[in-house]
């Protein structure tokens, strides 16, 4: 039964896309995934309009302070089990907006992120590869993170998959809660 559920989960990851203050570059690459050239529906990936239907939250953009509580709310509206993929340099670390007064700098300041896909913007192939690595990490039994993974990150296209147990969602840092008011 668990195998069946896992098979179904791996074969039909429905995604929802959220722009938390991106410049639209990454958004275009996300939309490119649905075009005939890349066609992620081959893998059963569908872009769903409602967060209630989705399994994977694709976040682009360094999280602006205006957007932070909206992003958190969208995440809270998704049913378990749910996963977050940070797409683009801004979503991973804040990118060129790192340290500015209006942004928090990175999705992981607000949400537990399961996979980081760097790039400005990342190519659609890189996004597909990141999602596939996320799914493979789900299928594999949980293992302690290895130090050797950082070596792979130096090769292009660079994707790193960081496993965060989705069930234990850490609360947002105090400053986020304060700023979100």
């Amino acid at each position: 039964m668990t195998n069946l559920a896992m098979w179904a989960r791996l074969k039909s990851p429905w995604v929802i896309h959220f722009n938390s203050g991106a410049c639209n570059g990454c958004d275009i690459e996300v939309v490119a995934l649905l075009t005939p050239r890349y066609d992620v529906e081959r893998f059963g990936i569908k872009l769903e309009p409602s967060p209630r239907h989705a399994d994977v939250l694709l976040v682009t953009g360094s999280v602006t302070k205006q957007c932070a509580d909206r992003l958190k709310r969208i995440y809270d509206q998704m049913p378990q089990p749910k996963f977050v993929v940070a797409i683009g340099a801004c979503a991973c670390s804040g990118g060129v907006f790192q340290g500015t007064y209006g942004t928090l700098g990175g999705v992981d300041k607000v949400l537990p992120v399961n996979a980081y896909i760097p790039g400005c913007p990342p190519r659609p192939e890189a996004i597909i590869d990141g999602v596939v690595k996320l799914l493979n990490a789900l299928a594999a039994p949980p293992a302690p993170p290895k130090a050797s993974e950082e070596e792979a990150a130096t090769e292009a296209p660079a994707e790193e998959v960081t496993e965060v147990p989705a069930e234990t969602a850490p609360d947002a840092p105090e400053e986020v809660k304060k700023d979100a008011e």
């Binding site: 559920a5 989960r9 074969k11 529906e41 893998f43 059963g44 309009p49 239907h53 049913p79 089990p81």
Partner: protein, 330 residues
């Protein structure tokens, strides 16, 4: 004397519940493939051979997800509307002669066409209730659109369903099927074309899919649903599409009657012809869906009252005249 094992087999396995559900999943896969190929894509490819298990994977995945009930929702309605919509539609399917006779032997009665059309209305009302009870603005708009569209298009649908009834001079579905030695789609092609257009609106497919227009109302009446309830809601929609195609098959294409009669295993050949005809209609309907852009809600309503309804009445008058003065002489 009723043969109980046979009855239970027919209701639960073939051509009842299991067959209808598996056939629905298959039709869903066919739709997604046709849509993808028309858009120059591949569609589901890696879930089973050619992605044929994709709808089943989606269904199981939705069943295993967390179910969220909004705290303001009308809980009982919210909970039971998807299940009721599904069961009403499967029940309506049981009246259609899938393998030459209806699912429960002897359930057919005089006037069951009206009963089946009423069940369609009840199922649509369940979809409306599903959206209305979740008290989400998008769901409410989607539900109101379901109701607006359904109130308009149900009238031409029922009037057009009367065309085969007049041609067969009966309101019994089995009699309508039995009297189609020549399919009614050939005797009354105008009603056939109108019925397909109206059915597109009734099934909320393009160009009439305003109730769940993603760019306007998120997912319409499905917006708040998640987990198993979403699975049943989506399955109800897919069964509705198959039911619509099956109704067109029964009323206009001669149901399980094949062009060549075979002496042995009539049930098997009947099912084969029925399934083939339903698939043709499903593919045709998906072609229309991909070809046309979405109308606005006011355009949908205007198309109904200004064009479809007058044309329906005209086609009914034309068919009646032909049925009483021309066809008996041929």
């Amino acid at each position: 004397m009723i043969d109980y094992p046979l009855l239970i087999f027919r209701v639960l396995v073939f051509p009842g519940f299991t067959f209808i559900l598996l056939f629905t999943m298959f039709c869903d896969w066919v739709e997604r493939k046709v849509e993808a190929r028309m858009q120059n894509r591949m569609g589901p490819s890696f879930t089973g051979p050619h992605g044929i298990l994709q709808p089943i994977a989606d269904f199981i995945k939705m069943l295993t997800k967390e179910e969220i009930t909004p705290c303001d929702s009308k809980r009982n309605v919210y909970k039971y509307a998807p299940i009721l919509a599904l069961s009403v539609l499967v029940f309506a399917m049981a009246f259609l002669p899938i393998d030459g006779s209806s699912v429960i032997p002897g359930v057919s009665f005089a006037g069951d066409l009206i009963f089946v059309m009423a069940l369609v209305s009840v199922a649509n009302f369940m979809l409306f209730l599903a959206g209305w009870s979740s008290t989400n603005p998008y769901s409410a708009i989607g539900a109101a659109r379901v109701m607006t569209q359904f109130l308009g298009y149900d009238i031409p649908l029922v009037l057009l369903a009367l065309v085969p009834a007049f041609l067969a001079k009966s309101l019994t579905i089995s009699t309508i099927v039995a009297s189609q030695w020549l399919p009614f789609a050939i005797l009354a092609p105008w009603a056939f074309v109108l019925f397909i257009i109206t059915m597109q609106a009734e099934l909320e497919k393009d160009p009439f899919d305003v109730p769940h227009a993603e760019s306007e109302v998120v997912a319409g009446h499905e917006t708040e649903y998640s987990g198993g309830k979403l699975a049943f809601l989506k399955l109800a929609r897919d069964v509705q599409i198959v039911f619509g195609a099956a109704l067109i098959t029964v009323l206009f294409l001669g149901g399980a009657n094949g062009p060549v009669p075979f002496g042995f295993l009539p049930e098997l050949w009947g099912t084969l012809w029925f399934v083939l005809k339903v698939l043709v209609i499903v593919v045709l309907s998906e072609y229309l869906t991909v070809l046309f852009a979405r109308l606005r809600i006011d355009q949908v309503v205007r198309v109904n009252w200004q064009f479809i309804l007058p044309l329906t009445v005209l086609s009914l008058i034309l068919t009646l005249s032909l049925a009483y003065w021309v066809y008996p002489m041929v």
